[in-house]
Assembly symmetry: C2
């Protein structure tokens, strides 16, 4: 089968609409903005941002299609013969910062990179960052992740789950960002059609993984203490995005539209000096029972 | 003259005490914590943090003396013959995040690095990050900077001022962090005694540069709008610290005590999507009249 970016673009574009529509309906208070940014090259990006909603304090769902005349050497270290070739890329990425500390933050992205019929790959995944987690929510999240992967091989989920745990890790704190999910990169398994099917399977499972958690927890009563912990943990999110995340750092370094790159930042965050959760508290539970990587499908 | 780190350590240590004492007296509401962290190697660090003061929302003044058995190759790219040699380093660094948007945030650091009698250098500087600046305050700040440099050569201030403008710059936003000050690195001018004198001259001018501004502006009335802008601009500070600042990035990558490294983070910050100041507003004035690099000694 020939490798064509158009169906990938169409899928990412439609997925953006579906996700924004569904989250808008649940939020009930705010809507996603739309900007369509077309360039002469044919590039097209559509940042969509929801702000100060009833349940979503800020969320961004971004679609982009870009193309370049000449691959930079840094992008082709493993394939030096590709240097200077033209390329195309399509991507969707999203992040939701909820108001309610019982609702986790979630992040997902999917991307496709194409140089020519024999040089292309898919990447992406989704991961969850809870504040006051419920075990059943984390299990549900990982079951959706597994369900998305299982048709593509018995060990795909466990491989992608480990890659997610490894990637979303704050080495400077020896601490996971959250409870993970799946993460894949340079994906060409089984050829283009099969790889695209897997990418779609991950994409199709984003809403089923997140929406039930959002709906179940969004009206949970909370107080100042819980909100303060939410804001404190969002500081970790800011640390990861700015200091570690390859996508964000690439965006900062390459002069992409900065407001799109940093739409993922938390709307509010706090930092405390030398703060530790009280032993035995609900906050300590996050650190002890949820952040250390574990098997959420076969619980001990 | 022989090169000895002890007087440099003594000066940095005393300067820490002087700065903390003075700021505590002005704040009147909170005190600096003290932790003394000694290691078997002889290393000593003393992080001091003031939190939730009357005027200072968070401030950190850190002293450290460290030593190593063997210089890592990355630290000696320009002097490969030093690789594997022992070294010592002394440093003081500080940052103050005020509550009042009419008081600027300030940052300063001084450092000394010693391998042997012929391989050592000083570095450091101070820079100011206002929210709602007063021209006379910025002029005063730069006059103190110039006064600190002038005994060491007619062009020292202008060289160090330009280095400061170049360093404290958010390339991803094409925007300066603040109104600058002075910044120097690899400084060996005139030999050890002379370089140490200049470093002390910079250090001795920190309080004279900042305290008059803090005292004059700390009781200026402000409202929600000004506080929101303060918090929004603190987001830029977080971006600079986490994504750009070499000291912070070095700290994150080398496993230094993370709470000391990130004591510089703002206690609260916000991010807005695609926000721009209203043309003609006080907020626009910061971007138009203060952030673009300019000569604050000879005003146009």
């Amino acid at each position: 089968m020939s490798v064509d970016i158009q169906p990938v673009r169409d899928y990412f574009f439609q997925l953006q609409t579906d996700i924004c529509d569904r989250l808008t309906a649940i939020d009930g208070g705010a809507e996603f903005s739309i900007e369509d940014i077309h360039q002469e090259t044919g590039a097209h990006s559509r940042p969509r941002v929801i702000d100060q909603g009833t349940h979503i304090e800020r969320g961004a769902v971004q679609y982009s299609y870009s193309l370049g005349d000449s691959l930079p050497p840094a992008a082709t270290a493993r394939n030096p013969e590709l240097s200077g070739k033209g390329f195309q890329a399509a991507a969707i990425s999203m992040i939701m910062h909820p108001r309610n500390p019982y609702v986790p933050t979630f992040h997902a992205n999917l991307r496709f990179f194409l140089v020519d019929q024999s040089h292309w790959y898919f990447g992406g995944g989704f991961d969850l960052t809870p504040y006051y987690p419920f075990q059943e929510d984390v299990v549900h999240w990982h079951q959706c992740a597994k369900q998305a992967c299982d048709p593509f091989g018995a060990d795909v989920y466990s491989t992608l789950k480990k890659q997610c745990d490894d990637y979303f890790y704050l080495t400077h704190r020896n601490e996971a960002r959250g409870v993970g999910g799946v993460f894949f990169d340079d994906w060409v398994e089984g050829g283009f059609d099969r790889s695209f099917e897997m990418t779609k399977s991950i994409g199709d499972n984003i809403l089923p993984a997140y929406v039930p958690i959002l709906e179940k927890r969004k009206d949970t009563p909370f107080g100042e203490r819980e909100e303060e912990f939410l804001l404190y943990r969002r500081g970790r999110y800011a640390e990861f995005n700015l200091a570690i995340d390859r996508g964000t750092r690439y965006g900062l370094q390459t002069g992409r539209r900065i407001e799109s790159v940093l739409a993922s930042m938390p709307p509010r965050a706090i930092w405390k000096y030398n703060w530790q959760p009280e032993p035995g508290s609900a906050e300590a539970k996050l650190y002890e029972d949820y952040l250390p990587a574990r098997d959420w499908i076969n619980l001990d």
